[in-house]
Amino acid sequence: MNKGKIVSIHSFRGGTGKSNTTANLAAQVAMAGKRVGVVDTDIQSPGIHVLFGLDENKMGKTMNDFLHGKATIREIGFSIGDHSSGGEGRAKLAGKNLWLFPSSIRGREISQILKEGIDFNLLNEGLQKTITEFDLDYLFIDTHPGLNEETLLSIATSDILIIILRPDNQDLQGTSVTVDIARSLDVPNLLLMVNKALPKYDFAELKKEIEDKFNAPVTGILPLSFDLADNASNDLFSLRFPDHDWSKALRGVAEAVLAVE
């Protein structure tokens, strides 16, 4: 049996920084010498593939084709290590073991898959096959916000679930439900991460308060940063600016992922 771990990145609301976090985490874990896959669930919007510097038109077959039996997983994995161009940060990934697996080109496609009866077991087999074929240590899944069916599927299959939240009441309320769901679905490792935290807050207090509320570890508090907002889509920020506070906090989250047994 395979030891590769499925890591889902989720948030209650949209725009919390899931795609940026997923891409940077995957990159950091690959930089640590691990074999890493990333499922890009959202290639119609500026998501993961853009951060890796890829053009959606070049990506060809998707996970959907694979789930429909129209493509092999080998045909879908797109090697970032072999195509790490255009960006000072991305260039550092040259030769690393990192693959991107595009999926769900149009919003409707994934729900169609659900309707057609591609169930949890099939999806899970697909993910396991991806792990086996590419001999992955980690497979990251960038999910959609909210708790719709497809998101519940990826939570249910996760070995590690990272919930990203913004430090405000609305997000904490929504996150509390996600935490309960993750526990109900027996996710073995639940990690929290705060993003877009205003630097005026006391981060140590914030960490303590959130950990007390949810009884789960806060693995990093990443500051709201104009530098990131400025650059994010052009490059992998944490590789490009390793000394930035955002990058340092992100590496803390990557270490927490690597530390999971």
Binding site: M1, N2, D119, F120, N121, N124, L147, E149, L152, L153, A156, T157, D159, P167, D168, N169, L172, Q173, S176, V177, D180, I181, S184, L185, D186, P188, K200, Y201, D202, E205, L206, E209, I210, K213
Partner: protein, 244 residues
């Protein structure tokens, strides 16, 4: 009067190595000018053709900052020399000089100054020496100031508590250096205070979770047949993985 002038010349830094008989000659050629408080002695941008030795009273050396406000660069008093730069480099006055109080200055015209320099190698040498002394002194401070600026930028303020002012024999330059030092250290302390203040002001964020709403939303999601199936399958999967 002229012995008075001689007296003053002896006290100026630039003439400190020059013998009295030479200074007596210079004194004869210098003329005295009286300034009323707020009177302008020289203006920035003017061509300069004389230097001044302050005999009595105080003047301020000013320029205009980017907002158009007067910025005092320095204050000079008895024994100090001003305006000599323009004589040597021929570049227009770099700042305006205004009397802070009623004052008396000795004026030395360019031709007189140059005549002395030409005829008296010892005076030229004395002037060169005093310049190089000043330059060396400034350079040391510039190096220090660069070092301190870098430390401040990195958030290391320890030097402001430790550093001792450099001691130098260059008379009134010590005062200016001390002024620079104290202005610099005062700035660093203010920056540090402000930073410490900000650290203390870090806000604490408190949240309230509506537990009833939390429960209700959880039940809405978990109450479906889809969820019941998923939970069952997930449990089976986790068991399988644990065994695998």
């Amino acid at each position: 009067m002229k012995s008075d002038v001689l007296n003053q010349l002896q006290k100026t830094t630039i003439f400190k190595n020059v013998s009295d008989d030479v200074l007596a000659e210079v004194a004869v050629k210098a003329s005295t000018r009286k300034l009323a408080k707020d009177e302008i002695l020289m203006r920035k941008g003017e061509k300069g053709d004389s230097l001044f030795l302050i005999h009595d009273g105080w003047v301020k050396i000013v320029t205009v900052d980017s907002k158009g406000d007067e910025l005092i660069i320095n204050k000079c008093g008895p024994g100090e020399m001003i305006g000599e730069m323009a004589l040597l480099d021929g570049i227009p006055r770099s700042a305006t000089v205004i009397a802070l109080s009623d004052a008396e200055v000795l004026e030395l015209k360019q031709d007189v100054f140059e005549e002395i320099l030409k005829q008296r190698a010892d005076v030229s040498l004395a002037i060169i020496r005093s310049y190089s002394e000043r330059l060396r002194f400034s350079t040391t401070y510039i190096e220090k100031a660069i070092d301190w600026s870098q430390k401040t930028a990195e958030g290391d303020y320890s030097f402001a508590e430790q550093a001792q002012p450099l001691i130098n024999s260059a008379g009134s330059d010590d005062d200016k250096a001390a002024q620079l030092l104290s202005a610099f250290f005062a700035m660093v302390r203010k920056v540090k205070e402000r930073e410490d203040g900000l650290k203390q002001q870090l806000e604490k964020l408190t949240f309230e979770i509506d537990q009833a709403r939390r429960k209700q939303e959880f039940e809405e999601i978990t109450g479906t047949e889809f969820y019941a199936n998923l939970k069952e399958q997930a449990r089976a999967l986790r068991q399988k993985r644990a065994q695998g």
